[in-house]
Amino acid sequence: MDGFSYHDIFATKGLEYLVIIAFLALLVPFWIVLNKQVKITREIQKALGILSANILRIPQGLFYSRNHTWMYMEKSGAAKVGLDDLLLHITGEVKFNQLRNTGEIISKGDLLTEIDHDGKLLRIYSPVSGEIVDRNSLLEKKPGMLNEDPYGKGWIYKIKPTNWITDAKSCYFAEEATSWSEKELVRFKDFLANTMKNHSPDASMVILQDGGELCDHSLSTLPDEIWKDFQKEFLTLYRLPSPAA
């Protein structure tokens, strides 16, 4: 081979380092923006008002009861109780009526509170037995907190439980809660299709047979009978026989 030429390998090193630094500096925003997408899809779905499993917030450390309430044991030994995201997405903006006072003793399955959307009521039963030690006074000033931050500032009561272990056992937790919520969403779709059929004589009103998307706040515009059906189907909490019995 003729014509060997010797590159001065240091001639361009400074520039090469600059390019590498530029590459790394650009890679960071490139990667961040590229991966932001998941959130954006969520925002889009939220803006479009589509209710699907991936917009539901399901913190993994809470206990979720069958009647769409959650509870969380604090260090003090009192458990916070609130409403889950799925329920609030289905009902839309609700006001809630404080029915219980501190010091009252309730058992699991007792009426805890009522939520109200334009006079249509849903009764919420307690997922836990115990003594009510506190109620969330913030909700009286800002009822919107319930929908905005259902697992944080939107808690409803603090209850000092008397039978925590048994009550918690009947709840869903972590991944189980996520998959349960997904199933509940599907069940809600079926429920809507059925109940609409029952309550409207017009067959064309039957919806969602093709598995279409749910609207956010689906219940808010529907009549009172359907709210009553929903209460029966989703919010009833049967008292479990205690293991000792």
Binding site: G3, A11, T12, L15, E16, V19, I20, A22, F23, L26, L27, F30, W31, V33, L34, K36, Q37, I40, T41
Partner: protein
Amino acid sequence: MNNSYQIAADHDGKSIWKFLVSEFKPKGKFLTPFNIISIPIMILGLALIVIRFWKGIGSITNLTQDIPWGLWIGFDVVTGVAFAGGAYVLTFMVYILNMRKYHSIVRVTVLNGFLAYVFYAGALLLDLGRPWNVINPIIGNSFGTSSVLFLVAWHFLLYMIAQLIEFSPAIAEWLGARRARKILSAMTIAAVIFGITLSTLHQSGLGALYLMARDKIHPLWYSEFIPIMFFVSSIFAGLSMVIFEGSISHKVFFNQISEKNHQAQHGIIRGLSKICAGAMFAYFFLQMLVFIHGQNWIWINTPMGYWWLLEMVGFVFLPMLLFFVSYRKNNINMIKVAAILTMLGVILNRLNVTVIGFRWDMAIRYIPSWMELVVTLAVIFTEIWIFRWVINRMPVLRDSPSWVSEK
């Protein structure tokens, strides 16, 4: 296409030979626009190949002693193999990284990769003076271990076998061979690992072939890093091919694809576009580094420099940006446009190295003859024919027969 499939498991009660003979008969409408265009070209191509072996390579090509490698190597072999890179990337993602989302397109991609190797690497035989000598590096009639071609020859052979093993469960399902399927699918993971190793080596090996042509290739395209560039670009070349081929398959073979996989397609294409964007981002900077390292800015203000800029900006940077934006905006059509631009860019890059930038300073440039083009098209069409034949018979796009999951 066709709507009725053989029930492979029992061959409709026929013997295996009768089943095979019946499967070789064409299915569906014969005079489709694709057939009308492709059949004359394939016949003409076959005639030209006969002439080539009868009268020698100079009779139908514009190749000379100065430029011994032309379109058949530069496009068929070098570009075709880059496009087949989707198979190793996807098998890596699905079997090694366990990204289940992409599982439904693995078979079709592996089939595509396998056929690409058989046909495009097979086109090498058209170029060889005495094609029967292709066996020499394998059987040891002078191995030629000091040549990159030794590596390429062995890798192509081994990789074709590995891909055939990866694909073989589909053949077993077609024939209803339950025991064979069990054994073959147990071999898949080994074949995948072997195949990935081979791919990373020979994608770059094809680039290494051009390392010894340092004085012949334009300095903007020649660097000692060609192998790395070829390897990195094969990632997004292969995935763009998967996006492109997948969108066509989805239209042409729509009746074979289950509802579930139809719905998954959108997410798959979007995921691939993200990988393409990332790989092209890295590739673009690698090209910049090579550019600076070779002090190539002295060439920028020349016609070849403008050509290079077109490739880098128009066919690397722009599609990268398109992949990026369309991933974020969730725009499938824009992803397809980006995939096509990327493929054009890869063709351009490979041809720039192997044909356009090769002996760029010669007074008389090599321009492929029309006959070379026809043969190339004939090779591509034949591959598509075989691809279609397989898709219509074996469970590639459609779900495996029920006995597979029953076990």
